[in-house]
């Protein structure tokens, strides 16, 4: 039996509300397939299953809020019989106090298996869901007019205009919290924990980008728009290259000890413009990817973040975070580490600055790179080596752009 549990979605997301199942009992599931959608304080997340199997039973009802680690579904492996999985599941559920799963206990697992989950499903477009948050509209009270009864933005706005006696009677302090407020709260909790627990130290280094800029311009001059490269992705490659030299910045602080990351997965801080807040989904195995692949993945990741369609694997396992505030025009950024990670790299704006080259003052593009790191794991000397490696890597862009086998 394969236990499908709600995966960790990052330090600031310790619970989620199941919005809908995308599979039903009897469906075959392939490794990596998205099986359900879970709403968190930050966004609705597509949750993947990491095993091949056949859905045996769905144990969480849509609309239920559950903590990370909750057993949500059981899957059968290829060689397992349904009766065998029933037995295993009954034993498991007798052991675990399954949170918030409705009554009929192990005696009748078939009831759960057969439950028509789809009947209760309420289809809501992400945009409509966002609008409902803004207008404080309870979606359960809205009738959908879209395809399959889906709730549209228009339905939400119509519902918001309709006078509801309960809303008028409700005192001001009973106003439900919006997604923006909810997100601010979880970010506040994670950042306060970071500043409380992690002894940060900070370093900065100005990195000349004359060679990198020229290389990028030459590349882009002969590339179509769909193949164009970005300085942002070259900076990410440089972070990954430097981390290979200083692995103690890549990983987690857990149970009083450093746990090195398996692979270099860069969390990319992306600000959410509507209502503020940010999310840092991961680009996986960055050293192995060439610039073309990484740039396309970065573009896709940002687009999906804005559209609210991130996957659980992107939120669960970044080994370090990179924040690039250059486009907002700041000179440098000193970040707050996202626990349980142990370092954060920041980039400011790329600007032309006076720089000494071969004894002469020249105007060249320069970026200030910074490192915030956990003093329990590394010290300033190693942090300095990281920034030096980062600077050196950016002086050989062609080499840097390659993916390692």
């Amino acid at each position: 039996m394969i236990e499908f549990r709600l995966p960790s979605l990052g330090a600031d997301m310790d619970e989620g509300k199941l919005l809908e199942w995308l599979v039903k009992p009897g469906d075959a599931v392939k490794k990596g397939q998205i099986v359900c959608v879970v709403d968190t304080a930050k966004a609705a997340i597509d949750v993947e299953c990491w095993h091949d199997g056949v859905v045996h039973a769905l144990l969480t009802e849509p609309g239920t809020t559950i903590p990370v680690g909750t057993l949500m579904a059981a899957l059968r492996e290829a060689n397992e019989s349904p009766a065998h999985v029933d037995d295993l599941l009954s034993a498991l559920r007798a052991k675990e106090v399954a949170p918030k799963v409705t009554a009929p206990p192990p005696m009748a697992p078939h009831v759960v298996t057969a439950a028509p989950v789809a009947a209760a499903r309420q289809r809501v477009s992400p945009a409509a869901r966002r609008r409902a948050d803004e207008l404080h509209v309870d979606l359960a009270q809205v009738t959908g007019s879209g395809p399959d009864g889906a709730i549209t933005i228009l339905d939400v706005e119509t519902a918001a205009r309709a006078p509801t006696p309960t809303a008028e009677a409700a005192p001001a302090f009973a106003r439900p919290t919006t997604r923006a407020e909810e997100m601010r709260k979880v970010i506040a909790a994670a950042m306060a924990r970071s500043k409380r627990e992690i002894p940060h130290y900070y370093l900065a280094e100005d990195v000349p980008l004359a060679i990198a800029s020229a290389w990028l311009a030459a590349q882009n001059a002969r590339r179509n728009v769909t193949e164009r490269l970005l300085m942002a992705s070259l900076l990410l490659k440089a972070v990954a290259a430097a981390l290979e030299r200083t692995p103690e910045l890549n990983g987690f602080w857990r149970n009083g000890a450093f746990e090195p990351g398996t692979g270099i997965h860069l969390g990319v801080a992306i600000s959410l413009r509507a209502g503020g807040g940010l999310v840092a989904p991961a680009l996986h195995d960055v050293p192995r990817k060439d610039m073309d692949t990484l740039t396309r993945e970065l573009l896709d990741l940002v687009k999906r973040t804005r559209a609210g369609s991130l996957k659980s694997s992107e939120l669960s396992n970044a080994t370090i975070t990179v924040t690039n505030l250059g486009d907002e025009g700041v000179a440098a950024v000193f970040g707050v580490i996202y626990p349980p990670q142990v370092a954060l790299v920041g980039f400011g704006r790329v600007t032309e600055r006076p720089w000494i080259v071969d004894g002469e003052i020249r105007a060249i593009p320069v970026v200030t790179a910074s490192l915030a790191a956990d003093h329990r794991v590394s010290d300033g000397h190693r942090g300095g080596l990281f920034l030096a490696a980062l600077r050196d890597a950016l002086q050989e862009p062609e080499q840097l752009a390659k993916g390692k086998p």
Binding site: V225, T226, L230, A232, R273, L299, K303, A307, N324
Partner: protein, 82 residues
Amino acid sequence: MNREELKRALLDELNGIAPEIDVAALIADKPLRNQADLDSVDWLNFLVALHGRLHIEIPDADAAKLTTLDKLIDYCAARITA
């Protein structure tokens, strides 16, 4: 495709890559990236979307000059009819 249709197509694609911005509030002759808060990744996503919608190639050297919605519309209009 006339200018009005072209403008609608551009705003439509902009909305696609940045659903949370209010495209109706954009001022056509003021810097677009500032108003819409587009970073370099959003901007490239927007150019790729335009390429897909209008089948025009925007060279890197030209893209930097297309700072306002008006300039974008002019540029695309010339490319489509060309």
